[in-house]
C-alpha cells in the first residue's frame, strides 16, 4: 500500500464534495452548476478509489468507471438542456427558471 491513509483520502473527497455542493448552491450560472455536479461526482469517484485501494479490491475502480460514464452522460444531457435554456429563456441564470412555484 502507498502511504496515503484512507482517512486522508476520504477527507479530501469530502472537501471536494462540499466544494461541489457549495458551487451548486451559490452559482447561478447553469454552466457552473453543471461543473459543480461534476466535481461532486468526482469526489465520489475519488472516495471509491480510495476505498478500493484501501481494501485491495478492484470493485472500487470498477465503480469509478461507472461514475465517469455517468458523469459524461449527465454532462451531455445537461449541456443539451443548457442550449435549449439559452434559446428559450435567453439566459443561463438558473434563478430565471422559476416560473413554477407555490
Amino acid at each position: 500500500m502507498n502511504g496515503v491513509p484512507l482517512d486522508h483520502a476520504l477527507v479530501l473527497a469530502s472537501i471536494l464534495f462540499t466544494l461541489g455542493l457549495a458551487g451548486l448552491m451559490i452559482r447561478r450560472n447553469m454552466v457552473f452548476v453543471l461543473m459543480s455536479l461534476e466535481i461532486m461526482l468526482n469526489a465520489a469517484g475519488l472516495a471509491f478509489i480510495a476505498g478500493g485501494t484501501a481494501w485491495g479490491q478492484p470493485e472500487g475502480q470498477a465503480m469509478f468507471l461507472l461514475v465517469i460514464t455517468l458523469a459524461a452522460a449527465e454532462a451531455s444531457v445537461g449541456l443539451a438542456l443548457l442550449i435549449q435554456l439559452n434559446q428559450r429563456f435567453k439566459t443561463l441564470d438558473t434563478d430565471a427558471v422559476s416560473r413554477m412555484r407555490g
Partner: protein, 617 residues
C-alpha cells in the same frame, strides 16, 4: 255502561279530527255545529254516567290498552271514574257545552272558526283525559294537551304578535311547572315502581312514614306542577296575559277548567300530600298569598278581562288554601261553583266586549246597564256569587265551607287571609260592575253598544246565572269515600263564622259602593299622585313579578343566546382550520421554484440526517 266512559273524550276527539282534516271546506255554521255537537254528545254521555253513578256509586275502571310495557314500566291507557273525576267531568262537559254554544255567537264573522272549534274540542278531549286518567302518565298527557290548547287559543288572533308572545309565555311558564311534575313522576316511579294512581296511593303509606323526606320531596314536585297550571305564586304571571285569547276561551280554559287542574291533581293525590304535612301547609300558604296578591292586583286593573283573570287567581288561591287546610272536598266544591260563576262572568264580559265593538277597557265603557240588560244581569249574579253574597249565591256556600274548614283545622292565619281576601273580592267586584255598567258611556264604542241576540247568546248566560245562585250550591259533588271527610267542629262556631264572613263581604260591597259612587273624584286624585299612584301602579303590574322575571331570567337567557348564537364551540374547530391554512401558506412559501433553494434544502436535510444518525448512536 263502560262504553260511555271513552265516549266522553272520543267524541270531542272526533270533532277535532273532523274539523282539522276538513282543510277549510267547512263553513262557519257547520264548524260551530260540529264543534258544539261533539261536546254536547260528550255532555250527554257524562249525564248518563252521572245518573249511573248516583244510582250505584262505585269506582269504574276501563282499560283501553297497555300504552307501554317495558319491565315495571307499564302505564296503560286506562280510565278511572269516581266521584272526584265525575264532578270534574260534569263541569268540563257541562260548562264546556255552554261555552261552546256561546262561542257560536261570540265568534260569528271571525275568520278561522273551524280552527277555533278544532282547538276547543281538542281542549275538551285533553281535559277529560286529564281527569279520567288512572295513571299519572295519562294524566300528564291530558295535562300537556290542555297546555297546548291553551297556547293555541291564547294565540288565536295570531296576527298581533303580542298575542303570540302571550301564548308563548303561558306555555313556557306552565311548562316550568310541568317539569317539576315530570320529575315528581320519575321519583314516584323509582320509589314505588308504578304510575297507577290507585297503586301509588296504596303503596305510599306502606313505604313512607308521615313526613319522610322522600315523600315530602315528591309532594313538593307535584305541587310545583300544580302551581304552574293553576297560576299560583310564583308561577302565576302568565294568566293575566292569557286574556289575549277570545273570551269564551278565557271562560272555559282560564277560569272554569284548566287552571283548576292543579287543584284536581292535589285532591287526586291527597293521600300523598297527607303524608307530607309540611308541603300541605305550604300549599295553603301559597294559596293564601296568591289570593291576597291577586286580590290587590285586581283592584288596580282597567281591563275587564284582567280583573277577572286576577279574580280567578285569587279564587284558585282559596281552593289551594282549602287544600292546605286539608279540606279537599271544600276545594272541589268551590272549584265547581267557581266554574259556574266565573264562566258566567267571563261570558257576560264577552257579551259586553262584542256588543261594544271589542272594547274591553273599563275606562272607555260605562252606562251600559240599560243597553245590555242580559249581560248586566250576568255580571250582577256572577259578581254576587264571586263576592259571596250571603245565602242566595253559590259562592257563599263554597267559600264559607273553605273558611270554616280552615278554622276547624286550626289554621288561624289562613282564615284571616281568607277573610281579608273576601273583603277585597267584594271591593273589586263592585268596582268592576260600576265602572262597566254605571256612570256615563265614555266612548263611542260604549255609546253604540248593541245587545246580543239569539239562543246561543242567551241560553248559556241564563243557565249559568241559575247555576250561580244557591241552586248551584245544591249540586253537592259526590265526593264521599273519595276524599277524606271534612273536619267536624262545633255548629256554633260555624254559624258565627258565617255571620262574620257575610259581614265582611257586605262591608266590602258597602265600602266599594261608597268609594266608586260617591268619592270617585277623591279616588282618582289619590291614585294619580304620590304614594297612591305608586301603589296603584305596583298593583296594576301585579306586584312587579313580570319585571323581576324579565330582568332575572328572560333577559339573561337572551343574552346567552345572543352570545352563543354563532356557535362558539364550533368556532374552536374553525380555529384549527385557520391554523392549518396558515401552516399551508407558510409551507407554500418554501416552494420558491428556485433551483438553488431546493438544493439548499437537500443539503439541510442531509445534514440533519447525518446529525441524527451521529447523535442517536
Amino acid at each position: 255502561m263502560s262504553f260511555l266512559l271513552p265516549l266522553t273524550f272520543l267524541l270531542p276527539l272526533a270533532g277535532t279530527l273532523l274539523l282539522s282534516l276538513s282543510r277549510g271546506r267547512l263553513g262557519e255554521r257547520a264548524s260551530a255545529a260540529i264543534g258544539t255537537a261533539s261536546v254536547g254528545l260528550s255532555a250527554l254521555a257524562t249525564a248518563a254516567l252521572i245518573a249511573g253513578y248516583l244510582e250505584a256509586p262505585e269506582r269504574q275502571v276501563v282499560t283501553l290498552w297497555t300504552w307501554v310495557s317495558v319491565g315495571d314500566f307499564q302505564p296503560t291507557l286506562g280510565l278511572a271514574l269516581d266521584g272526584l273525576s265525575l264532578t270534574l267531568l260534569g263541569v268540563i262537559t257541562g260548562v264546556g257545552l255552554l261555552i261552546h254554544l256561546f262561542a257560536a255567537w261570540y265568534m260569528r264573522g271571525e275568520s278561522g272558526i273551524t280552527r277555533f272549534y278544532a282547538y276547543m274540542n281538542l281542549f275538551v278531549f285533553s281535559m277529560v283525559l286529564l281527569v279520567l286518567g288512572d295513571n299519572l302518565l295519562l294524566l300528564f298527557l291530558g295535562w300537556e294537551g290542555v297546555g297546548l290548547c291553551s297556547y293555541l287559543l291564547i294565540g288565536y288572533y295570531y296576527r298581533t304578535a303580542a298575542n303570540g308572545w302571550a301564548a308563548f309565555k303561558a306555555f313556557i311558564v306552565t311548562r316550568v311547572g310541568d317539569v317539576f311534575l315530570a320529575i315528581g313522576l320519575f321519583l314516584l316511579f323509582r320509589e314505588l315502581g308504578t304510575l297507577n294512581i290507585a297503586q301509588l296511593l296504596e303503596r305510599a303509606p306502606q313505604l313512607w312514614a308521615e313526613g319522610a323526606p322522600t315523600v315530602e320531596l315528591a309532594a313538593l314536585l307535584l305541587l310545583g306542577g300544580a302551581l304552574g297550571k293553576s297560576a299560583q305564586l310564583p308561577l302565576h304571571t302568565w294568566l293575566a296575559d292569557a286574556m289575549a285569547g277570545p273570551t269564551p276561551v278565557s271562560a272555559l280554559i282560564h277560569a272554569a277548567t284548566m287552571v283548576t287542574a292543579g287543584v284536581y291533581l292535589i285532591a287526586r293525590m291527597h293521600e300523598l300530600f297527607l303524608l307530607a304535612p309540611d308541603v300541605l301547609l305550604l300549599t295553603g300558604v301559597i294559596g293564601a298569598l296568591t289570593l291576597l296578591a291577586a286580590g290587590f292586583a285586581a283592584l288596580a286593573q282597567t281591563d275587564i278581562k284582567r280583573v277577572l283573570a286576577y279574580s280567578t287567581m285569587s279564587q284558585i288561591g282559596y281552593m289551594f288554601l282549602a287544600l292546605g287546610a286539608g279540606a279537599f272536598d271544600a276545594a272541589i266544591f268551590h272549584l265547581m261553583t267557581h266554574a259556574f260563576f266565573k264562566a258566567l262572568l267571563f261570558l257576560s264580559a264577552g257579551a259586553v266586549i262584542v256588543s261594544c265593538h271589542h272594547e274591553q277597557d273599563m275606562r272607555r265603557l260605562g252606562g251600559l246597564w240599560r243597553k245590555l240588560p242580559l249581560a248586566y244581569a250576568g255580571f250582577v249574579v256572577g259578581g254576587a256569587a264571586l263576592a259571596a253574597l250571603p245565602l242566595v249565591t253559590a259562592g257563599f256556600y263554597s267559600k264559607d265551607e273553605i273558611l270554616w274548614q280552615a278554622l276547624a283545622a286550626g289554621h288561624g292565619g289562613l282564615l284571616v287571609a281568607g277573610l281579608v281576601g273576601a273583603f277585597l273580592t267584594s271591593i273589586y267586584t263592585l268596582r268592576l260592575i260600576i265602572k262597566t255598567f254605571h256612570g256615563e258611556a265614555k266612548s263611542d264604542n260604549a255609546r253604540h253598544a248593541e245587545a246580543g241576540q239569539g239562543l246561543a247568546h242567551g241560553v248559556p248566560l241564563i243557565v249559568l246565572m241559575v247555576l250561580s245562585t244557591f241552586l248551584g250550591a245544591w249540586l253537592t259533588p259526590p265526593l264521599a269515600g273519595v276524599l277524606p271527610d271534612p273536619h267536624e267542629g262545633s255548629a256554633g262556631w260555624h254559624t258565627a263564622l258565617e255571620i262574620v264572613a257575610s259581614l265582611v263581604a257586605l262591608g266590602g260591597l258597602a265600602l266599594a259602593a261608597w268609594l266608586f259612587l260617591r268619592r270617585r273624584k277623591w279616588l282618582a286624585e289619590q291614585t294619580s299622585q304620590g304614594w297612591g299612584a305608586r301603589l296603584w301602579r305596583w298593583w296594576h303590574h301585579a306586584w312587579g313579578f313580570d319585571t323581576a322575571y324579565d330582568r332575572g331570567l328572560v333577559r339573561p337567557y337572551w343574552r346567552t343566546v345572543h352570545a352563543l348564537r354563532s356557535d362558539r364551540v364550533d368556532g374552536l374547530f374553525g380555529l384549527v382550520a385557520i391554523m392549518v391554512r396558515m401552516t399551508h401558506l407558510g409551507l407554500s412559501w418554501t416552494q420558491t421554484g428556485k433551483l438553488r433553494f431546493y438544493g439548499l434544502s437537500m443539503v439541510g436535510g442531509a445534514t440533519l440526517v447525518i446529525l441524527v444518525l451521529a447523535l442517536v448512536r
